[in-house]
Amino acid sequence: MIFHPAIMALLVGSLLVTLMLLYSSYYGVQVIRKWDIKSGSELQLCLERRTYLVSIIMSYMLFFQLASFYLFIFTADAIHATFVSAMCAAGSLNVNEYGYPAVIIKMVNFLFAGTWLIINYADNRAYDYPLIKKKYLLLLVITPLMVAEFIVQGAYFIGLKANVITSCCGSLFSTDAEGIASEIAALPRLPMKIAFYLSTALTLASGMYFCLRSDWSGYVFSFLSIATFVVSVAAMISFISLYFYELPTHHCPFCILQKDYGFIGYLLYIALFGGAVSGLGTGALMPFRKIQSLSQIVPSIQRRLAFTALILYFLFTVVVTYRMIFSDFILEGY
């Protein structure tokens, strides 16, 4: 355990949010079991009020997830100096086996929280709350994930041991022979480039088609946008990062958030995350287009979401491509 202030901040924050989610899933179970919109009973009125509370908690959670994702990466970067041969966040995350799982579970929770809020938004627009039980089932899925995040992140931080001066230095030097791999194994570049542009193009095409026709192609679009999200993250590591760092071997997807690169990473990741949440949300709403009270509402929400996703993915691609073309760095030379 390293007593870095930011680590304590992350642990405290995630504990608080986890507790709030556990609290709201308690009411989630009640809603699933007892909800009856037709009734004017006091229990029903009480449950309806609880739904407001859960909505607030979830909106705060979404914000928290986003902020804590960045804080987590920042912290990993800030503590790299305490580990032998960790060069940046990528190296610190590799110090023990919980680092990268923590990053992934944070991303997943962010996507889920966003999807939940989209469903909630649609549901609150319909006078009979048709999705109420479904969204509370989803809440019961998110809560364990949040608990898992708390545990994995805690395990990562508790497992950190700074390589500081020891009185018997023999042990330290023997472990240092290999050091901690600070680089991330990168995928081959050319296939990744093809995959990245192909998936982005398909997503943009299907998104435009969906915006115009508003039919079952929403499923295709949603699936593609998630695929593009995954491919883009991989592409980030495989070749995009190289153009930003102008170094042939630096694959770290996190250093791009630093001041040295003009904080461009924020723009890229916000575009990517925003696109993924909107794309996922479009798909998540697809099955509910037939519900009578939602039939007027859902398509317009979906159109807006799909449009947002399109813009964000397009922005991401434009920034990346611009950098690839106008960077002085020539990758193929290496």
């Binding site: 041991k161 700074a162 500081v164 001066i165 020891t166 009185s167």
Partner: protein
């Protein structure tokens, strides 16, 4: 007739944000400005061969945390809390904490 309260507040926040930006600006300006004199200090460290900051001069073991050995703390007194602040604020040297 009278200023809208929300405008007053937004103005207040704008001033705050401006001040924060000023703080950031001042910090990065100061950092840049301090580089030559930090380098001078670093040169001196090199010349004399120093290994530690001179932050805690109240006890011998607190003066050079990186040079301390297993027996340094408590050698002045078994209840060496007499050196209260540094004794609590800086750690016993890390190698004593890990086993």
């Amino acid at each position: 007739m009278f200023a809208r309260k929300s405008n007053v507040f937004l103005l207040f926040m704008a001033v705050n944000i401006f001040l924060l930006a000023l703080v950031f600006g001042h910090a990065s300006y100061g950092e840049k400005n301090a580089l030559p004199y930090l380098r001078g200090k670093a040169q001196m460290v090199k010349r004399i061969g120093l290994s530690d900051l001179c932050l805690f001069t109240d006890a011998r073991y607190a003066r050079h945390p990186s040079m301390a050995d297993l027996s340094t703390p408590f050698q002045d007194h078994p209840m060496s809390l007499e050196h209260f602040p540094s004794g609590t604020i800086i750690t016993p040297p890390p190698h004593l904490r890990s086993k």
